[in-house]
Amino acid sequence: MSALSASNITMSIGTKEIVRDASLSLNAGELVALVGPNGAGKTTLMRALAGLVPARGTITLAGKLLGSLGPRERARGVSYLPQGHIFHWPMNVESIVMLGRAPHGDPFSSASPDDRAAITHAMATTETQMFAERPVTTLSGGEKARVALARALATQAPVLLADEPTAALDPRHQLVVMELLRNAARNGNAILAIMHDLTLAARFADRVLIMNEGRIVAEGAPAEALAPERLASVFGVEAVTVAVGDKRVPIAGRAL
C-alpha cells in the first residue's frame, strides 16, 4: 500500500482547470521530484495532497481517505513545507521546530518526552542545534531553510511534501537540503519535492513526475523522465547531458 496515493485529481479556480486528472502514488522510502514549468499546477496539486484545499478525485493516506481525517490526524500523517521558509516573528529556532509537534499530544500540556526526542532528532539531522536559542529571523537564507525542514521533520509524519525546498539557496545549501531529504527518505519517509533544478532532481530523486498544463505527462526514473526530447517539448529548452558521479544529469543548454 502506498503512503500517499492520489487518483484522477482535478482542480479548478473559477472556470480555469489548474490540475487535470492527475494521478500519482508515493511509497515509503522514496524521494520523488515533481517538476514542470511555472504555472503547471504543481503547488496547487501539492496543497490538495496536503489537505489544504478541496479537490475532485480521491486522495488516500496510508489507505484512508484524506478527507475523512480530522485536521490534527491528517497533520500527523502529512507534513507540508511551503515555499519561501516564512517566519513572521523573531521566535527562537527551538520554538519554531517545536511547532512541528503541534499535531501531537494534547494542546494544553507542554512537550512530552516523545516531543523532546523528535525535536532533538530533527535539529541534529539538520544541524540546527547550534542556533537553537537564536531568533529565527536573524538567520541566513540557508540556515532558515534548514530550520524550516527541521520543523517539518519534527512532526515525524510518514509523508513529507516540500514545495521548492532548494529555491533561493546557494549551491552548497541546495546540496545540503537535498541530502537531508534523501536521508529522510532512506529512513522510511515518503517524500514529494517540487523542484525547478532539473540537475538536482536527476541526481537525488528516485523517481521524477513531470507536470505540464495541469497534467502529469511523464513519470519514471530520472534518466528516462528527463530525457532531452521531453525537456524540449515540456520546458522548451535544449538540454545537454553530463555525467556527475555515476549519474547522467541534464543541463538546460539554451531556450528553444
Binding site: P82, I86, W89, A102
Partner: protein
C-alpha cells in the same frame, strides 16, 4: 521561575496599582483607610472606595486587559505588529451607536443605555463584517471589509456630531469619545464585564493557532490549525471585548497596539505566550493612566484616552529605537 518573570512582575504591578487607585481622588485616603473602607464599606471612606473608586478601578483593569489581549490576538492572527483592536471596525461601531444614544436618546452620558447601545453597535458590526466578507473570506477581504465598516462608523459618528441638537450635546459626545472612567458605576461594570470575560475566553483558546501562524497560513493549516475558524473567532472576540470597553469608557487609544509590544521580547516573540503578559500590561497601563488623571493638577479631568496615548507613545518610541534591528529583521 525565571521563565515567568514578566508575568510575575506585571501581576505584582496590577496588585499595587488598584490600591493606589482606591486611594487617590478629590478625597485622598491612606492605603490603610482605603483597604479598611473597601473591606468594611462603612463611613465616608467605605462609600467613596466601594461605590465610586472600586467600579472605576475594576473597569480600568478589565478594559486595559481586554485591549491588551485583543491587540495581542490581532497581531498574532495577522502576523503584523501594527495590528490593533480598531482594525475590524467594532470600536468605531460601538462609539457611533453610543453617540447616537447620547445625541438623540435623551440619555445622559453615564446612563445604562449608552453602554447597552455601544455593545449592540459592536455586535451589529460583527454581523455586518461576516455578511460582507463571508464566513470563509480571505484575510485581505476581511481586512478591507473591516476598513469599510470602520470608515462608515466613523462617518456616522461625525454625522451625529454634525446633527447634534445643540452644541452642549456635541461637546458631550466629543468628550465622551476621548475616553473616561469618571463617574462610572457598578452598573457599567455589570453590563460590560460579561462581554469582556467572554472575549478573553474566545481569544485565549486561539493562542496556539497564533503560534502556528508564525509559519504563514498554509503551514499553520497543515499543522492542523483551522484558519477560517480562528479568523472568525478573533473578529468576534475582539468585537465583544473592545466593543464593551468602548461602550462603557469611550475610545481608549494605543493600549491595544502598545501593550503586546512592551512584553513581546520578554516572551521571545512567541505570539501565544505574549497574550497573558499583554493583558496584564494593558491593565497596568490603563490603571496607571487613570491614577495619573486623578493626581494631575488640572481642574478639568484630562480624558483617559488622551493620557494612555501620552504615556504610551514615549514608551512605544523608546522601544522601537531599542529593538529596531530585530523588528527590521522580522520583515525580511
Amino acid at each position: 521561575m525565571g521563565r515567568f518573570r514578566i508575568e510575575i512582575a506585571l501581576t505584582a504591578l496590577i496588585l499595587v496599582l488598584p490600591v493606589i487607585s482606591l486611594m487617590v481622588g478629590p478625597a485622598g485616603l491612606s492605603p490603610r483607610a482605603a483597604i479598611a473602607g473597601l473591606l468594611s464599606g462603612e463611613g465616608p471612606a467605605g462609600i467613596i472606595v466601594r461605590e465610586i473608586r472600586l467600579p472605576r478601578t475594576l473597569l480600568a483593569a478589565l478594559i486595559g486587559a481586554t485591549l491588551g489581549l485583543s491587540g495581542a490576538a490581532l497581531q498574532g492572527l495577522l502576523r503584523n505588529p501594527l495590528a490593533e483592536p480598531a482594525l475590524f471596525g467594532a470600536p468605531q461601531a460601538a462609539a457611533a451607536a453610543a453617540a447616537l444614544v447620547i445625541a438623540f436618546g435623551f440619555a445622559p452620558v453615564t446612563s445604562f443605555a449608552v453602554p447597552g447601545a455601544g455593545i449592540l453597535g459592536a455586535l451589529v458590526s460583527i454581523a455586518g463584517l461576516v455578511a460582507i466578507a463571508g464566513r470563509r473570506a480571505s484575510l485581505t477581504v476581511t481586512l478591507l471589509a473591516g476598513l469599510a465598516l470602520a470608515s462608515f462608523a466613523g462617518a456616522m459618528t461625525a454625522l451625529i456630531l454634525n446633527l447634534a441638537p445643540n452644541p452642549f450635546i456635541a461637546l458631550e459626545i466629543a468628550f465622551w469619545l476621548l475616553g473616561s472612567l469618571e463617574d462610572r458605576s457598578s452598573d457599567h461594570l455589570i453590563i460590560a464585564a460579561p462581554f469582556m470575560l467572554a472575549s478573553w475566553v474566545v481569544l485565549g483558546v486561539n493562542a496556539r493557532a497564533f503560534r502556528a501562524l508564525t509559519l504563514g497560513e498554509d503551514a499553520a493549516a497543515s499543522l492542523g490549525t483551522d484558519i477560517g475558524r480562528t479568523r472568525i473567532m478573533v473578529v468576534i472576540g475582539v468585537a465583544l471585548g473592545v466593543g464593551a470597553a468602548v461602550a462603557v469608557a469611550g475610545a481608549i487609544g494605543f493600549v491595544g497596539l502598545v501593550a503586546p509590544h512592551l512584553v513581546r521580547r520578554a516572551v521571545g516573540s512567541d505570539p501565544a505566550r505574549v497574550m497573558l503578559p499583554a493583558a496584564l500590561a494593558g491593565a497596568a497601563l490603563v490603571l496607571a493612566a487613570d491614577v495619573a488623571i486623578r493626581l494631575g493638577p488640572s481642574a478639568v479631568e484630562i480624558k483617559l484616552g488622551v493620557v494612555t496615548a501620552l504615556i504610551g507613545v514615549p514608551i512605544f518610541l523608546s522601544m522601537i529605537f531599542r529593538e529596531r534591528r530585530l523588528l527590521e529583521g522580522a520583515d525580511s
